[in-house]
């Protein structure tokens, strides 16, 4: 049980929260922290399995805060853009087909350089309808210019939303950030979660000062770009995303100073020190991978696990560093880019050491429960291969 540090300036309380409620709690804390600035707001539209998050958020008392219940996800993001352009801290949450419907404005938010934070519960895209986890919905938005985080547990969801605001609002970045969590495995699972007090959050998140916010002069936002202007704007976006890793490191340190714990890196290694085989994954699958790695290590196999926590900007350097010397790499994708293979695998191949065997395993689509046995089978299969083959589509459900 996490200790309560009475009298400590980092005082926290551990509450039994679902990750949906952890996200809403974090958003409310971040929102209140901007009360000395231009307040907080968001447009929200419910969708399973995100609804509990916005339901709790709508019940929060937030000084200078306003949650607008709209008729669609497309409008939800539009409302967030309005809040953000006016200088408020903005939040929304969605999932799956809701994100697909929102997509046009998701891109717009990044193009407008608005530091909106969105929580996404990863849910399989339909039809046929399926409400359980896979990562295809948010990976669909990988080219939108948003920063993307994939979380592993309830605490990380809460912490990452706070961290994402600081990162997104940094003047060197000014980009929206997406904080993803696995449907039900996190969103509806209750676990003890440390909730920081408002004073600590206030220290971590100073009032937002958006340099291009609307003021007393009328401007056109998002008018027309000619070819050369577009070339420049795209380069600016790309440069901003490239600056994220170093700013992220600063944010991690600042977070640790205020809250007493350090958020995880963009890439999280597990028993990789002397490994020759690596199993790479995202989200809660990584926790399952750790249990399989422990078992393989107990059997004398040099296996390590690698979790990709930040998917955009893609942590190519960190991955290349972590994978140096690895001979065989299993990439577990809870998604598929149809006609090609797993999205993580497709991107990671460029960061793998020359000559390494990189095999893709697509598993846990539509919410199939990925168990340690499945990962052990992957490790055995990987060890037995002479060469990589086509992505292996597994059935685990």
């Amino acid at each position: 049980m996490p200790a309560e540090r009475d009298g400590d300036e980092h005082a926290v309380t551990a509450e039994l929260l679902s990750a949906n409620h952890a996200a809403a709690t974090a958003a409310a804390l971040a929102g209140r922290a901007n009360r000395a600035g231009r307040g907080f707001g968001g447009g929200v539209y419910p969708i399973t399995p995100q609804s509990e998050c916005i339901e709790l958020l709508c019940r929060q008392e937030i000084e200078k805060g306003r949650i607008v219940r709209v008729e669609s996800e497309h409008s939800a993001m539009a409302v967030c853009m309005g809040f953000s352009l006016a200088g408020a801290r903005a939040f929304t949450a969605s999932s799956s087909n809701g994100l697909a419907y929102m997509a046009e404005n998701v891109f717009a938010a990044a193009m407008y350089r608005l530091p909106i934070v969105m929580m996404a519960v990863n849910r399989t895209l339909g039809p046929p309808w399926n409400i359980w986890v896979d990562h295809g919905d948010t990976l669909m938005l990988r080219d939108s210019g948003w920063i993307q985080f994939y979380c592993e547990d309830n605490q990380e969801v809460l912490d990452t939303i706070l961290l994402a605001y600081r990162l997104a609002e940094d003047a060197r970045v000014l980009l929206p950030a997406l904080v993803c969590q696995d449907a039900f495995v996190l969103s509806h699972t209750m676990a003890q979660t440390e909730v920081p007090d408002q004073a600590a959050v206030d220290r971590f998140l100073p009032p937002l000062d958006l340099p291009h916010r609307l003021r007393d002069r009328a401007v056109t936002v998002g008018g027309l770009d000619l070819p050369h202007e577009t070339e420049v704007h795209r380069r600016q976006l790309e440069d901003a995303l490239r600056r994220v890793p170093s700013v992220h490191a600063e944010c991690q340190t600042a977070f640790e100073q205020v809250f007493g714990r350090r958020p995880a890196d963009a890439v999280v290694p597990y028993r990789m020190e002397d490994a020759r085989i690596a199993v790479v994954s995202m989200g809660t699958t990584a926790a399952t991978v750790r249990r399989a790695v422990d078992e393989a290590r107990a059997g004398g196999q040099p296996v390590g696990g690698l979790r990709v926590r930040m998917f955009r900007p893609f942590p190519e350097l960190q991955l290349a560093h972590a994978l140096a010397g690895i001979e065989r790499i299993a990439v577990l994708d809870r998604d598929i880019s149809l006609g090609h293979g797993g999205v993580l695998w497709s991107e990671l191949r460029g960061a793998a050491p020359r000559g390494a065997l990189v095999q893709n395993y697509v598993l846990g689509l539509g919410g199939g429960d990925i168990r340690p046995e499945h990962v052990s089978w992957v490790i055995d299969d990987l060890r037995a291969r002479c060469a990589a083959g086509a992505p292996e589509m597994m059935e685990v459900a």
Partner: protein, 733 residues
């Protein structure tokens, strides 16, 4: 420690798992809890999980090797339910079966049984249609794991479930436990998961919806169509099928409605005018936009339908019954007897049948031709009338000998005297004697000021009749307050509208005059403590004022005159005894009960008829008035299914009363449309709400009724919950 729960959507398994997690968190453990989502439609088998560890939990998988198992519905218990359960682990079962019946089963586990459904139902946990057991069974589990009750209670408080804690405590006390008896009996650990259904190619799906999923196996409860007691039926003293005739006029017309009425009441035209209508007091629509004008509907039917035709019943030898008294109770008894094929002969002292309907109730309220029409229809059934003879004790004995049985319904013949100084003065008269004279055409003109003493319907009838006979001024003096006046509210309002003055909290303490009445002394009355009847006791004060008047009419109540009974006869309950031996003779109406309304008299007459026939050895159902508490309460009516519409009021003639005019004042309803406002409480109207709302599409039209396909009904209770009128219920199959 890993706990797995098996339940059905709607039983609250996820909340139960949450309660356990919260409880262990309070004990300082790391916890994690989650459910299976999306399959949790009502009735579908669902699972929920709780993990409890001393260290932070990293496992994000479902629970495949539970240490303990909780099963919320015993019908879910099967090999795949207990799969993976640790040998020696707890298997907690919600079941009504006692432990002795379960003893040989599941020897590998510590078996625990509790009837959480019964406990939860007793504590009223759940919805109107479905009992919810989650918060109850968590108490039993706490007992198994030796969790202290105060810790459990704190968890309930934290989750806002404290109101459910008494049920949990009861389950904590009630759970029965049997130790594991045979560790080897457990299924081998690590058995392969059950074969998965094949994923069929898209082109294989040609049926819509797939018929393979027999969701009927999910149900622990089933809906069915069932008639519930409508409050109007429960409240009607005559025992009329009120909802039956109101619905009949709405759907099938006046003639059909008249046929429904004719089964129970010989006097619908009368009741449709003078009944105080307790049915309207009980009407659930009163809680919404005003009670249905049932009295007006009854009058509409009676005045607009032809005489109902009846087939003569065949059967046993008809009995010959003498009915003494031709008022409403006697007529109802004779009517009942005739409908059952017996010969009833009514003895009436007046010149015509009707009793109080012709001698007491003035014609402006109840026109004589209405009474004559109803009497004629009773006689058409074969009832014989003998009028014009008041019976002596000797004659009564003779009549009893000449018939198989006797019904005594002579009403209340003995008016209560004022019992104060001067009540013998000329000009002081009993109200019923006055009404009797007036109604039988012997009335004279009145002059000057008339004081009526009393607050019941007789007092109102006296006052309004007096006005019509030319009295210059009519004053009613009543000893209690207006709320306590026994007269029908509309009668009081009508009287005042016609110009009658009402003096409240006044009691006559003396009459003054020189041979002839000149004034009445009225003492003011204070209201004291409530008496046994719940009414406040009047306390007569010394504040007395004299009211000049020319005539005083006493309407202080009547009592039964039993003086005409032969010596040795006495009434015990409704039956007559002679020297301690029961006679085939029963009393009815005011003579037996003194309840005082036509509707009560009808109910009493019907009951006397059935009591008598049973005493004479005939097998038939005793007429009983239904228990009011069993009626559908307004809270079980879905008001939102009904459009708001005010009740149609009765029409009235103009306000002025012409001296000497005894023409009918109330004109009733202009049509039968008021019947469409009836909710039809507890009685299906085939409105299709169940059919429309059923998420499974298992409700189908079958002729005029519905068929429920239980093979696919998963027992969600939505049809029962949505039924606008409580015409369905959930029951255990």
């Amino acid at each position: 420690m890993e706990i797995r729960l098996h339940g059905r959507g709607g039983q609250g398994g996820v909340t139960c798992a949450k309660i356990l997690a919260t409880t262990y968190a309070r004990l300082g453990k790391h916890v994690q809890t989650f459910g299976d989502y999306a399959g949790e439609r009502s009735g579908a088998p669902v699972r929920a999980y709780t993990r409890v560890e001393d260290r932070p939990i990293t496992n994000r998988n479902k629970v495949y090797r539970p240490d303990h198992l909780i099963v919320l519905d015993q019908n879910l218990l099967g090999a795949d339910t207990i799969e993976g359960l640790r040998t020696g682990g707890d298997l907690l079962l919600n079941t009504p079966r006692p432990m002795e019946e379960l003893n040989g089963q599941f020897p590998a586990y510590r078996l625990a049984a509790v009837d959480a459904t019964a406990i939860a139902r007793r504590h009223g946990i759940g919805t109107r249609s479905v009992v919810i057991v989650n918060t109850t069974i968590a108490g039993a589990f706490a007992r198994l794991r030796e969790i202290p009750l105060p810790v459990l209670e704190a968890a309930y408080r934290a989750l806002g479930l404290l109101s459910n804690f008494p049920a949990a405590r009861e389950a904590y006390e009630a759970v029965q436990v049997r130790q594991a008896t045979d560790a080897c009996a457990a299924p081998a650990a690590g058995t392969a998961p059950a074969a998965r259904p094949p994923v069929e190619p898209v082109e294989a799906h040609v049926e819509s919806p797939p018929t393979g999923l027999r969701t009927g196996t999910w149900s622990s409860q089933r809906p069915r169509y069932v008639e519930h007691l409508a409050p109007c039926n429960a409240w009607c003293p005559a025992g009329n099928d009120v909802v039956g005739f109101v619905q009949a006029v709405a759907v099938r017309g006046e003639e059909a409605a008249a046929a429904v009425l004719a089964k129970s009441s010989p006097l619908p035209g009368t009741c449709g005018r003078v009944c105080p209508a307790p049915c309207m007091e009980g009407c659930n629509r009163a809680e919404y936009d005003g009670a249905v004008n049932i009295r007006g509907i009854e009058r509409w039917i009676s005045d607009h339908a032809p005489a109902p035709s009846r087939a003569a019943p065949a059967g046993l030898r008809p009995l010959s019954i003498a009915v003494v008294g031709g008022g409403p109770a006697g007529l109802a008894a004779a009517h009942s007897l005739a409908l059952l094929g017996h010969r009833a002969r009514v003895f009436e002292g007046e010149r015509e049948l009707g009793g109080i309907l012709v001698t007491g109730i003035p014609a402006y309220r109840l026109p004589r031709d209405v009474v004559r029409r109803e009497v004629a229809r009773i006689l058409d059934l074969g009832v014989e009338a003998r009028c014009g003879e008041f019976l002596s004790a000797e004659r009564l004995r003779e009549i009893a000998r000449e018939h198989d049985g006797l019904v005594l319904a002579t009403g209340l013949q003995a008016p209560r005297p004022a019992g104060v100084r001067g009540d013998h003065l000329a000009g002081v008269e009993q109200g019923i004697a006055f009404l009797h004279r007036v109604n039988l055409g012997e009335g004279a003109r009145l002059e000057g000021r008339v004081v009526v003493l009393g607050g019941g319907n007789t007092a109102m009838d006296c006052a309004r009749s007096a006005l019509r006979l030319g009295a210059a001024r009519v004053t009613v003096a009543y000893r209690r307050t207006r709320q306590e006046m026994p007269a029908i509210r509309e009668e009081i309002e009508e009287a005042e509208r016609e110009g009658v003055e009402i003096l409240l909290q006044r009691q006559p303490v003396g009459f003054r005059g020189n041979g002839r009445l000149q004034s009445v002394d009225l003492a003011e009355v204070d209201m004291g403590e409530p008496d046994a009847s719940g009414r406040r006791r009047p306390v007569v004060t010394a504040r007395v004022a004299s009211l000049a008047c020319d005539r005083a009419l006493l309407a202080l109540g009547q009592s039964a005159d039993r003086g005409f009974l032969p010596p040795g006869w006495e009434l015990r309950g409704q039956q007559v005894f002679e020297d301690g031996r029961p006679l085939p003779a029963f009393a009815a109406g005011d003579f037996a009960t003194g309840d005082g309304t036509v509707a009560h008299a009808i109910g009493s007459g019907r009951r006397a008829a059935t009591l008598l026939l049973r005493a004479l050895g005939r097998e038939l159902e005793l007429f009983e008035r239904p228990e009011r508490s069993l009626a559908v309460p307004a809270t079980d009516i879905r008001f939102d299914h009904f459009e708001r519409r005010a009740a149609a009021p009765d029409r009235h003639v103009g306000e002025s009363v012409h001296a000497g005019s005894f023409g009918e004042v109330a004109l009733g309803l202009p049509d039968g449309l008021e019947s469409h406002r009836c909710f039809s409480c507890g009685h299906c109207t085939h409105c299709d709400t169940c059919l429309v709302y059923c998420p499974e599409g298992v409700v189908r039209r079958a002729g005029p009724d519905y068929d429920l396909d239980y093979a696919y009904c998963k027992g969600c209770g939505i049809c029962v919950h949505e039924c606008p009128r409580s015409g369905m219920e959930m029951s255990t199959p």
